[in-house]
Point group: C2
Chain length 351, copies 2
């Protein structure tokens, strides 16, 4: 899944260059490329599908030279994850009615790749043999209020447990209880299922979306596929797979582990995973000199220098034609700032 816009990372991410296409960690590989590198350890590379927005087609093909145009599924409109997954499932089903799928966002970070690949192989194996929806759960390392939580029930086999409940972003108190209970895991948004299982789930919980892609079955993988998608995809209900399917399904399971995972949802979460200096300042990309400054993330382009004096717990991002300075604890307001900028005269130049 590579269709998001990453507005929370403005001005580093832009409409024309969203989060998954950026080299967030200064490693020389974008998040999308890092995700691809990880998945080819698990899946034959010709079986990888990238679902993205039409406008990002060329960027995907440029960043992933081993991917062919036919492997890139193009959404003509943003409809959240459920239609995205229904489209991918339709394509897999057309190729192999007994196929199994692993679905991953392309803009997350996983630092413990071997642990991830091992767990994911186990997950694929499980859904090959069970009519089960399996999610990858992350052992919580802090009472995070920004994530969804999965409550695990009894073990089915080999570390895989039934899901009791899904809870969207809890408040701080509840998050603390969740964490201390040892029963709750972060919902990573990574899923395993057979096409049969996910088709049944769509048929049951999102029947309109299911019917659309049934109608398109004959076009999948043909030269008419894009025309069909352009016609019917925009009318799909805009809903996430979590709300649309996971919270209703009864055959959901969770496989949990510690994969050094972060959804990199905010500058704060990026700060958490980046290397930091002795004053807890993270300075990826260009050079930065910090004086009397603690707990900041300072991002300037390569070849630029930042001199920062007297800042604590700020996000400082200089990217192209925009500069953002914002308290880290206020970073959820960045979306609003971007909206304000977009309403200025010629504001679209900056977003």
């Amino acid at each position: 899944m590579a269709g998001g816009v990453g507005a929370r990372f403005w001005p580093y991410s832009r409409n024309s260059r969203p989060k998954q296409f950026l080299d967030f960690l200064g490693t020389g590989r974008s998040l999308l490329q890092m995700t691809y590198d990880r998945m080819i350890k698990l899946v034959p590379k010709e079986n990888i599908l990238i679902v993205t927005n039409k406008t990002y087609r060329d960027m995907v093909l440029e960043q992933l030279p081993l991917v062919t145009a036919r492997q890139v599924l193009l959404e003509p409109a943003r409809r959240n994850t459920a239609p995205c997954i229904a489209y991918a499932a339709a394509r897999v089903y057309a190729a192999n009615k007994n196929g199994v799928m692993v679905v991953v966002p392309s803009d997350h970070l996983i630092t413990k790749e071997d642990e991830f690949v091992e767990a994911a192989a186990k997950g694929l194996d499980f859904v090959t043999n069970h009519d089960a929806i399996l999610t990858l759960g992350i052992t919580p390392s802090r009472p995070e209020t920004g994530y969804g939580y999965i409550q695990a029930g009894q073990e089915v086999e080999n570390g895989i447990r039934k899901v009791k409940t899904f809870t969207e972003k809890p408040n701080a108190e509840l998050a603390k209880v969740f964490m201390e209970s040892g029963e709750f895991y972060w919902n990573s948004g990574m899923f395993f299922w057979s096409v049969k299982t996910i088709r049944n789930a769509f048929r049951k919980f999102l029947p309109d979306t299911f019917a659309k892609f049934e109608m398109g079955h004959a076009f999948m993988g043909t030269d008419s596929e894009q025309a069909f998608i352009d016609e019917y995809f925009p009318s799909c209900q805009k809903i996430s797979i979590d709300y649309g399917v996971m919270e209703h399904a009864t055959n959901t399971h969770v496989l949990f582990g510690d994969f050094g995972w972060s959804d990199l949802g905010t500058w704060g979460s990026l700060h958490d995973v980046l290397p930091k200096d002795e004053d807890n300042n993270a300075k990826p990309k260009g050079k930065s000199l910090c004086y009397d400054s603690k707990g900041n993330i300072v991002v300037v382009p390569k070849g630029k220098i930042a001199v920062v004096q007297g800042l604590e717990n700020y996000v400082v991002v200089d990217s192209d034609n925009a500069l953002l300075i914002c308290r880290m604890e206020e970073e959820q307001r960045i979306r609003q700032f971007v909206n304000d900028v977009s309403l200025m005269e010629n504001g679209e130049e900056f977003i």
Copy 2:
């Protein structure tokens, strides 16, 4: 005088593009150009001399297209204001032994131009008729500790008074006493004298410098002038006109007024004179959106946007390959920061 480097305005000013050449107020005219515009109201334009560093020659000629190369005096080394003025005086003396001079820095701001021109005309008239060194004093508007103060004595004529004392940057307590006394004026660094008078002063107080330029008299205004200057100027004592001459001379006078003057010595003083929004934020140049922010100066290039949240009394300057964020009350440390940057690997690219 247009030879300074303006290190305190880094990163907006650079070694290659110092303060006087910059359009500080976003008016479309640099401080040098604004100074020129002011002086041609007072002095025939062919009589204006610009003393600058050799490396800035082309920039002067580009910014002042009405100035000929012969009017630009080129210092091969930085020697502070006394040698600069001795050189200009030598050139004026070679042209006219009875000449009078007005000497002004090219990187100050004067907003009340008519009042200035009127006072300066009076000043030129006074030094035409008296063997007097005359300085322009500024009625203090606050107990500023960053300026030199002139104590005025008895009136000689028409608002022009004898100088009793010069006091360099006083402490806060003394500055307050000075201001309340009504006897003290800020030393603006603008001077009037006849060449005869200033030559006598140099002969008496800086005899080595005087002797050098006496030796060069025959070269002034000829094709050999630059060779002479290149040879002898660097060996002049590095000293300001205030320390070298003004504090010793007995025939010093002061003409004071309110000219909307600022030496623009710091970002703070620039903040004082710029238009500000309702939260006291000054935002010259590019666009800026400020949230929960007060008393800042935010400078981004034209065509760039800054979004600033949660800053009070900061200097934010984004210019080319450098970004500075610094508490305004710590801005005297900018010189040190620039020095630290210069010591980094390839640091000279940034200064």
